[in-house]
Amino acid sequence: MKALDVSGAVKQYGNLRALGGVDLAVEEGEFFALLGPNGAGKTTLISALAGLVRLSEGTIRVMGHDVVDDYRNARRMVGVVPQEIVFDPFFSVREVLRIQSGYFGLRNNDAWIDELLENLDLTSKANANMRQLSGGMKRRVLVAQALVHKPPLIVLDEPTAGVDVELRQGLWAFIRSLNQRGHTILLTTHYLEEAETLCNRIAMLKAGRVVALDDTKTLLRAVDGHALRVKIEGPLPAGLPASERDGEWYVWAADSYDVLVDRLGALRAAGVKISEFEVGQPDLERVFVEVMRRAA
């Protein structure tokens, strides 16, 4: 079964087309990233799958349940961590989590709430009013709220914005363990290294359209991801033009290590004296920039 199945999703706000016909499927158990620049339609798509926004055209199914026609079952299957830090100032952390459980019909959920508090390092703040928490703590409460009903699909809309490094690592360790325990994760983030490290598949959106969708490894290979950076003494031979020049560095880009090894060999064969060299790994940021450039 698909955890998420988006078909022909269009969302029109007046003259603005926030989603221009998105087709997307996330398989159960995946750790999936949805990337794109601001205004690409990521949050609109997440809002639509969560029932916060109604599509102008198309359908979305969560664990096989249509988010409009079968909204009750669809919403039981999904937990959303919203992008904005929002909270109810009337209640303590524990009250917030008990109330959120109750919204899903779960009355005796304290064991799981305690586990969430522990894993999100909030146990000491369980009885503190939400107003007393720092921004990072409030964000972790948002994560806990999204997880109170143990949803098979967890949607994280930029969950680490404003969270310090230590807490971010703790949060990802917890989310990764949830993924290993069977939860499907859909993540949006502007920290591309997080998506690269965590996600097995990535979709990139631009102007409401999917412009790239593939395994993370395949995507990384799709652009000339490997780069040979070399500093030499003397001029570069005319027959060996570099892909680009970065200060004193000559850079050759290629989609495999073999090409770079050949390039290095050619330099040595041409008698070039190499003073320094390094091999850059393919990174998602380059892929992202290239995909966005091509989609322009």
Partner: protein, 269 residues
């Protein structure tokens, strides 16, 4: 990648959590005003008691109401009902606009709560606050004047239906308003004048014929008049007519509000 059986178990768990969120939403809404009861219950009781003490004493020699009923006793049911109506409206409208502006309404919109459950929870919680304030005003007023209880059932029916009507208006206003300013406009230019001109402090029979007739166009008049009938057994209009009018208004507003909620008006973009 994780084991399919674990994933299947998660789906099963989610499907099993089929209970309704209505009870919790109602509980949350009641808890919300109860946590700040000094502001949401005690303060309006004090305001109403000040009205009672000032108007009850200042206007008493100048206003004639029903036969032998003292003026200060006459205005108590009006003040109680005014408190019920205004606080029912204030509860649903302020809760919704606060949640919208702070963004935490998303916690209510994400779970599997139907629009009918949403409507009922906000309206019932608002009526509970209205009744809490109304009972408070009534109890405190007993310190100043003895008030008869001709028919407690009429009192209860009008208090609940009137509170529900204003709570429903509050739901519409809370969803419609995008700023506190807009809500204040709704409250100060619609709710307050209609309440004050509904015979809280006077009997419409004491008005000139024209203004008496105008008062009969005000639905708030029938809520207060019917409620007062429960105390004194006399009223300006037949309590059955008042009941019918309140029921019609409540039904029309409820249907309208439910349709707006079903469409996700201003809540689900």
């Amino acid at each position: 990648m994780n084991a399919p059986e674990t994933r299947q178990r998660l789906v099963q768990l989610a499907e099993e959590s089929s209970g309704s969120g209505f009870r919790t939403l109602l509980y949350k809404e009641v808890l919300r005003f109860w946590k700040v009861a000094f502001q949401t219950v005690a303060a309006p009781v004090l305001s109403a008691v000040l009205y009672l003490m000032i108007f009850g004493n200042v206007l008493a020699p100048h206003v004639r109401v029903y036969g032998e009923i003292p003026y200060i006793a006459f205005i108590v049911p009006g003040l109680v009902m005014m408190s019920v109506l205004q606080n029912s409206f204030a509860n649903s409208s302020s809760s919704l606009i606060q949640s919208k502006i702070t963004g935490n309404l998303v916690f209510v919109l994400l779970p599997p709560i139907s629009y009918r459950e949403f409507f009922c929870a906000y309206v019932i919680a608002a009526v509970i606050r209205g009744l809490a304030v109304g009972v408070g005003v009534w109890l405190v007023s007993l310190l100043f004047v003895q008030i008869p209880l001709a028919n407690a059932l009429w009192i209860l029916v009008f208090a609940i239906l009137g509170g529900a009507l204003l709570a429903t208006l509050g739901v519409i206003a809370g969803i419609w308003a995008e700023k506190f300013d807009q809500l204040a406009t709704f409250q100060n230019f619609l709710i307050m004048p209609l309440t004050m001109l509904a015979g809280v402090f006077y009997s419409v029979h004491s008005l000139p014929a024209f203004w008496g007739a105008v008062s009969h166009l005000n639905p708030f008049f029938f809520m207060i008049d019917g409620f007062r009938y429960g105390f004194f057994g006399v009223s300006d209009a037949s309590p059955w007519l008042s009941l019918a009018i309140v029921l019609v208004f409540l039904a029309v507003l409820s249907v309208l509000t439910l349709r707006l909620l079903a469409k996700g008006w201003k809540l689900r973009g």
